[in-house]
Symmetry: C2
Subunit: 458 residues, 2 copies
């Protein structure tokens, strides 16, 4: 399937709009995966669907690999473009319509996720998927990876929010998939197939997205525990009580220690684990009543439980979670992993990660979307090692063992970040040979020349 690498000169002279200057190439050379910079052949900054169509038709004709790119904030290497043409969609950044009656938005792929959510807020609506990167990542990238976030536990992931797409196929044909109605069952679900396909089946140029009523009020709780087992058991009990917080996050002791060091405040440094929960509702009374129910369940086994309906205090309670990744990244190089396990096996997963950390001598910090069983073990190594010398073998080993652990516990390699290049070697842990054959058959059906983001996802 893999296409031959074209020469930079060939692309520059043959494809209108292709940029080969050093600055353009450098800007498209890396993402947030921590992988080393790639060496793209050229960059096209699309300013219209027609640019996308023309670029793909050219690439298809010349069998030149194309890597679609949004903001380059991906964590799995999906936008890395060694020897490929980068198709930069970030300039297609218009919010075309927000329809408050149908609760739909029509947007271009370069719109920043947080910008769409803010625009929806003006109509009492929200765009529910909220990856941690929402302020810097694009809707197109979110669609490519089927991005998640903290609100997913109540409102679902990106796929649940995408009703229809306009996409350009590998050969430059433009298709419109899905619908603008609440329901629709005409033909195969090509929309759902494109979501999460990491740019390997088509390039999204427009999306019809479902908005949801924006909750009028929230309430927040923070509980601390002597150990991660108690914290995980409390999260499981929230589910078992059939409660539906809009956020339910767990932080392990290592992460809490890193946050305390980063903020130079004792904070939660001596705590075995912490859980932050948030509820929402149509008014303050409803949100408060809901947080009381959640807090009552979280209290079992807890050392402390605090709840608040005050926004400023809620921010303080959420601070440890919000600062977790910055605190870790401030002290070490980091691979941000993303396993998902059955909710009831959360504690086993955290303990398993700790064991792997101890056995490999690699420091790992874990926080989790506990309500979804989605853990982010942050696998780190010393900042004294130059970043461009690659990922140390012990770190690779720890990451590989974490993937194996996830599958062993009945889980998955990736809850919301995708496969990209970084996890591709581990796909066999999770998917059978037959399923991988089917994936390849689908890829070949839509992109017979293999020009779209080769070497990613499948």
């Amino acid at each position: 399937m893999s296409a031959p690498t074209p020469t930079r000169e060939h692309v520059a002279t043959s494809l209108p709009g292709a940029l080969v200057d050093t600055a353009s190439l450098a800007a498209a050379a890396s993402d947030r995966s921590g992988a080393l910079g790639a060496d793209p052949v050229a960059v096209v900054r699309a300013g219209s669907v027609d640019d996308v169509r023309r670029t793909l038709a050219w690439a298809h004709e010349h069998r030149v690999p194309v890597v679609p790119r949004g903001a380059g904030t991906g964590l799995a290497g999906g936008a890395l473009a060694d020897g490929a043409l980068v198709l930069d969609l970030s300039g297609l950044d218009r919010i075309l319509t927000i329809d408050p009656v149908e609760e739909l938005a029509e947007v271009e792929p370069g719109v920043l996720t947080a910008d769409l959510d803010a625009a929806a807020a003006a109509y009492g609506l929200m765009y529910a998927p909220d990856p941690a990167s929402a302020a810097i990542s694009t809707i197109g990238g979110n669609i490519a990876t089927n991005a998640g976030g903290m609100r997913c536990v109540k409102y679902g992931v990106t796929r649940d929010a995408v009703l229809g797409l306009e996409a350009v196929l590998a050969d430059g044909r433009v298709v419109r998939t899905g619908r603008a109605t609440a329901k629709g069952v005409v033909g195969y679900d090509l929309t759902g197939l494109l979501v999460g396909s990491e740019g390997t089946l088509g390039v999204v140029t427009r999306a019809t997205l479902r908005l949801r009523p924006r909750p009028a009020a929230t309430a927040t709780a923070l509980a601390t525990y002597p150990d991660v087992e108690s914290a995980a058991a409390a999260c499981a009990a929230v589910g078992a009580a059939r409660l539906r917080p809009s956020l339910l996050e767990l932080l392990d002791a290592a992460t809490l220690g890193a946050v305390a060091e980063h903020t130079a405040s004792p904070g939660l440094a001596d705590v075995g684990a912490a859980v932050v929960a948030q509820t929402d509702g149509d008014d303050a009374a409803e949100a408060t009543e809901a947080i009381e129910r959640v807090a009552a369940v979280l209290a079992a086994g807890a050392t402390t439980v605090e709840r608040t309906a005050d926004a400023a205090r809620a921010d303080e309670l959420l601070a440890a979670r919000r600062l977790a990744l910055p605190a870790i990244e401030a002290r070490a190089h980091a691979l941000i992993e993303d396993i998902c396990v059955p909710r009831s096996r959360l504690a086993e997963a955290v303990r398993g990660v700790e064991r792997i950390s101890a056995e490999t001598g690699v420091a790992v910090f874990t926080f989790a979307h506990a309500g979804d069983g989605n853990l982010h073990p942050i696998v780190t190594w010393d900042r004294s090692v130059p970043r461009d010398s690659g990922v140390p073998a012990a770190v690779e080993e720890a990451a590989g063992r974490i993937f194996a652990l996830a599958v062993e516990l009945g889980g998955t390699l990736s809850g919301e970040h995708g496969i990209g290049t970084l996890k591709r070697a581990y796909l066999g842990l999770e998917l059978s040979a037959e399923v991988r054959d089917v994936q390849r058959a689908v890829k070949a059906a839509l992109d017979p020349r293999g020009v779209l983001n080769p070497g990613k996802a499948v």
Copy 2:
């Protein structure tokens, strides 16, 4: 793609388990689409995954078309099997596990939808999709058509409830798709691709389904209006107020008249349109508070509004909706249509259907999942015409014009019943040539010999 028709003798002698007796063939000859009986070649009643695997491997080798079948309650002809082998999955009817902690069920495809919901209720959970056929239709058939129902307006359709599948491919290979975790983004969404594919891409032999907390309490309201515009406007206002009833149904004057005649009670015979709404919550107070908000919005333009938290009275308020289809089918032959339009165009759609009815002289009765913009225009003709003389030309014309109306209003041919054979001729109204090409490419990738349910869905 279409395979040659095999002889009955050939199948009976060459495929172990193939039944060709008159009773077996007759039982597999029709569905609830109203289409005339088909002429299947033979029937295999699968008792295990291995039966399915062996049957498909045999059919693939001999290029014999196979039509998977559940309870035969489909409304679009998806299970019709002219000249094909019927693979009856209704005997694979075990609920394998209900996991109250993960809120998952693992089931075989022949389980009746209502039986799963009842089994989940024992754990305080529900299986949310609730097609009107839930008591008689199977999970496998629901998955094949991506079935909807009344609760969809709050809880989503079948695709939203399916996390993973075991399926047998056209050549007999068994694949396991999806996940048993809350989130997962590894590889293409083959699960979502199989859902709604009407048995044309694989035969589902097991499903991992998401259960949801079962609401502890409900409350119900019935509002009547002088005309359908007022009723539709009231439904739109409920959405605009960002309220989320768990059921929001509209009935037109013709339907209300039919129900009054059927029940021999004046009931709502003189009403221009009616809306039934239901809300749910963690306790009676929450459900009641929610129905008060909904009723307050429904009151604008209404002639009468009644609300109740009493279960017996709620049943009475819901009776007109529940009896709508039986009442119509008692008086006439019926094609049950299933268009979906943007919510705000509901009144235009109902009026458009009335106009088509007047112009073609065909009686059409409309009720709708108003919260989703999903209308069921029931296109009828006289019972004095023998059913086996086919669908009258005027009825076909009225149905075709209703499909065109749906697309003209920005909607779709089918919200929840599927394409089957009955709507296939109209696919071009909604899907571009490019999209149909992609659908066919996907079909060819998974079923290169075209043995699975040929002539359906795409």
